[in-house]
């Protein structure tokens, strides 16, 4: 503690005196913390694969940046807000973690972003979906990296409404993420002339959805919107098939579906689902090359968009530290927000004032078993959605950081 105080004093002193050259790295080490769901229903989407992705980024730097060693710590967030807050606080304060990446579901991620805001340290919100992270809850030290609920609404939601699905019934995970997704998709549905006829909220990590399927069938809605994720979505889709939901003429809209979910469900059950993702491993040469390296270390599994996000977030952060020769959060953040990025996996991107990273996203459809050429060949591209169209305009999110013009 005394050592880091001394270092902090030194850093401040150097700032005042504007001494040139010497790297200003706190604690003489650049420390990244991966705090994510390592053991529960989302852990195939992020989990150990997220740690591997960050390791890959660190290795590309040879384990060193600005002449200092890069270290990686990891922990299981269990998707619980209190655990997220406790670990984040300890990492920033005691263990000298410079940037946290993660941190599980939206509720636990929002807990981390509050801590990051208080401690004025970097937080890459790679896991969560809630658009409130760059809306009313935004802060100056959080970057929302891959996607959010508005993107899912503008992508999948809008495509389903435009294809004629006018009346909706929501099956919603009962916490911050589900609520945000239901709200954002409902807005798109109503804006496109559709209506929401009902919804039911299930606890996170539910295994039996049969009761909810009956309620969804009784609603007579044309579309059943699944505002949940991971294991919950998989079980919903599986049991919808069992209860003849699709055969009965209703359409399922999986609002947040990852490639690992499709893999678990098999194409037979998942075919025809439309979904919105910012990354698919088989989209271009760069993504295939990354996926190959990732798969070699992950038992042949292909990366999800979130795992790819962990890789690019870590890499982008380290690039800023390298360019600035410091891990000072304010300076790194200022540079990230002022310099547009162009990297192989997510393409051209800007990080806005409210912390939203904006890049193109893609509307995919899950292939039929006959169309698939082999393992993990699951998506066909329907449409590329330009970033400006996909993400919520900055002035509509209610983020206090955005200056009203």
């Amino acid at each position: 503690m005394r050592k880091s105080l001394a270092a902090a004093a030194l850093v401040c002193g150097m700032g005042v005196a504007a001494l040139p050259a010497a790297a200003q790295i706190s604690g003489d080490v650049v420390k990244l913390g991966v705090l994510t769901d390592m053991s529960s229903l989302y852990s195939d989407i992020n989990g150990p694969g997220a740690v591997v992705a960050v390791q890959m980024a660190i290795e590309e730097f040879g384990g060193m940046v600005a002449g200092k060693k890069i270290e990686l710590v990891q922990a299981d967030v269990q998707n619980k807000a209190d655990i997220a807050a406790t670990i984040s606080g300890r990492w920033y304060d005691v263990e000298g973690v410079d940037a946290i990446l993660g941190t599980g579901g939206s509720a636990s991620s929002i807990a981390t972003m509050r801590v990051a805001g208080e401690k004025k340290r970097m937080f890459f919100a790679v896991d969560p979906a809630s658009s409130d992270i760059t809306g009313k809850l935004c802060n100056a030290y959080t970057v929302h990296w891959v996607y959010d609920t508005v993107v899912l609404a503008n992508g999948t939601g809008s495509a389903v409404v435009k294809a004629g699905g006018k009346s909706w019934f929501f099956l919603t995970a009962d916490y911050a993420f589900g609520h945000a997704l239901e709200r954002d998709v409902s807005a798109v549905v109503t804006a496109n002339g559709g209506k929401v006829v009902g919804s039911v909220r299930h606890p996170l990590n539910t295994s039996d959805f049969s009761s909810f399927m009956l309620q969804a069938q009784a609603s007579k809605a044309q579309v059943i919107g699944l505002a949940n994720a991971g294991g919950d979505t998989i079980n919903s889709i599986k049991q919808a098939a069992e209860f003849g939901v699709v055969k009965g003429g209703q359409k399922l809209a999986g609002l947040l579906v990852f490639v690992t979910d499709v893999h678990s469900l098999t194409l037979k059950l998942a075919q025809g689902l439309q979904l919105t993702e910012a990354f698919y491993w088989d989209r271009n040469d760069a993504s295939r090359a990354f996926a190959k390296r990732f798969g070699e270390r992950m038992n042949g599994k292909m990366p999800t968009s979130i795992q790819a996000g962990f890789y690019t977030a870590a890499k982008h952060y380290l690039e800023q530290v390298k360019a600035l020769n410091t891990d000072d959060a304010d300076k790194v953040m200022a540079r990230m927000k002022s310099t547009p990025a162009d990297e192989p996996l997510f393409g051209k991107a800007v990080i806005r004032q409210d912390g939203r990273k904006v890049h193109d996203v893609y509307l995919f459809e899950v292939k039929a078993p006959s169309e698939s050429k082999g393992p993990w060949d699951y998506y066909k591209l329907i449409r590329t959605i330009p970033g400006e169209e996909a993400f919520r305009p900055m002035d509509q999110g209610g983020c206090p950081l955005v200056k009203k013009s």
């Binding site: 529960s40 229903l41 990590n205 539910t206 009784a218 009965g248 469900l265």
Partner: protein
């Protein structure tokens, strides 16, 4: 058209039936747990993991050895039950003379280890197990998948058979006597430790059987038993620790109550059973069917 508390009677009927189906799983699992507790005095927290092992065993048999569901339904519980026997011989039998807490910690730790290993190997999303009897019947008020109907019938048969075996047969009589007074029973020339081992194997086999039945409905996932074991434990406590009939009746009953909660206040569906447990413990500490010892 009259409505009951805001929902149509047909919808209510469907929900009750669905609740019954879930109750069938609770009954089967709590039955095994109750048998083990009643006979061995061990709170078997590995039960959820053993349920998962049953499902995984059936899935591995299907994908690796091409053994169809119906054979897996018999074979998987035998294999997992055998695993239970080994577990009892190696570890559990050393704990009988100690406080409940030791057995609880041991089985809980084992469950974490087993689930951890499976998650490391197969991930969290789960493996697909095809439905052996797809299709269903439209009952007018709901669409009843044939497989779920089969599960309810199978569960009832299994529960009644177990109850009969323990309460009405000679072997069951030995078993009950052995728990009541092992020294005396041993004096009659009956191998009590072997009896206990077999009982544990039976309880574990029941969990695995429920797991195989669950495989086509839920994804076969390392975590599938994790939440269930808590619910089932609550069922056993409500029914009365060790009471076999109690666990069967409570299992089905709580399935129904949980099903209704999913209609009236779905957010509470994961907690309602624990609320009931608290209330029952306040009024009748030995559980609904339990005897105070």
């Amino acid at each position: 058209m009259f409505e009951l508390l805001g929902i149509a009677p047909q919808a209510l009927f469907g929900q009750l039936l669905v609740g019954l189906i879930n109750g069938a799983f609770y009954a089967m699992l709590s039955l095994g747990l109750a048998v083990i507790f009643g006979m061995l005095n061990v709170i078997n927290f590995t039960h959820g993991a053993q349920y998962m092992l049953g499902a995984f065993a059936a899935w591995l048999m299907l994908t690796v050895l091409n053994i169809p569901f119906w054979i897996g339904l018999v074979l998987a519980p035998l294999v997992v039950g055998l695993f239970g026997v080994v577990l009892e011989r190696l570890l559990l039998k050393r704990l009988y003379h100690l406080d409940h807490l030791y057995g609880f910690l041991m089985t809980f730790g084992l469950a974490l280890v087993i689930e951890g290993v499976f998650q490391w190997k197969w991930g969290s999303s789960g493996q697909p197990y095809p439905n052996p009897i797809p299709g269903g019947t439209n009952l007018g008020f709901m669409f009843l998948p044939t497989y779920r109907a089969f599960v309810v019938v199978a569960a009832l048969v299994i529960c009644l058979a177990t109850w009969f075996a323990i309460e009405r047969t000679r072997l069951g009589g030995y078993l009950r006597a052995a728990t009541e007074n092992p020294t005396l029973v041993r004096a009659f020339g009956i191998n009590v430790p072997r009896l206990i081992t077999l009982t544990y194997g039976l309880g574990v086999g029941l969990a695995a059987l429920a797991g195989v039945l669950a495989a086509p409905i839920y994804q076969v996932s390392p975590l599938m038993g994790q939440n269930l074991v808590l619910v089932v434990f609550a069922v056993v406590v409500i029914g009365g620790m060790g009471s076999i009939l109690g666990s069967i009746v409570t299992g089905f009953g709580l399935g129904l109550i949980e099903g209704l909660t999913k209609v009236f206040y779905p957010q509470a569906s994961s907690t309602v059973i624990f609320v009931i447990m608290a209330i029952v413990l306040l009024i009748k500490p030995a559980g609904l069917f339990g005897r105070t010892r």
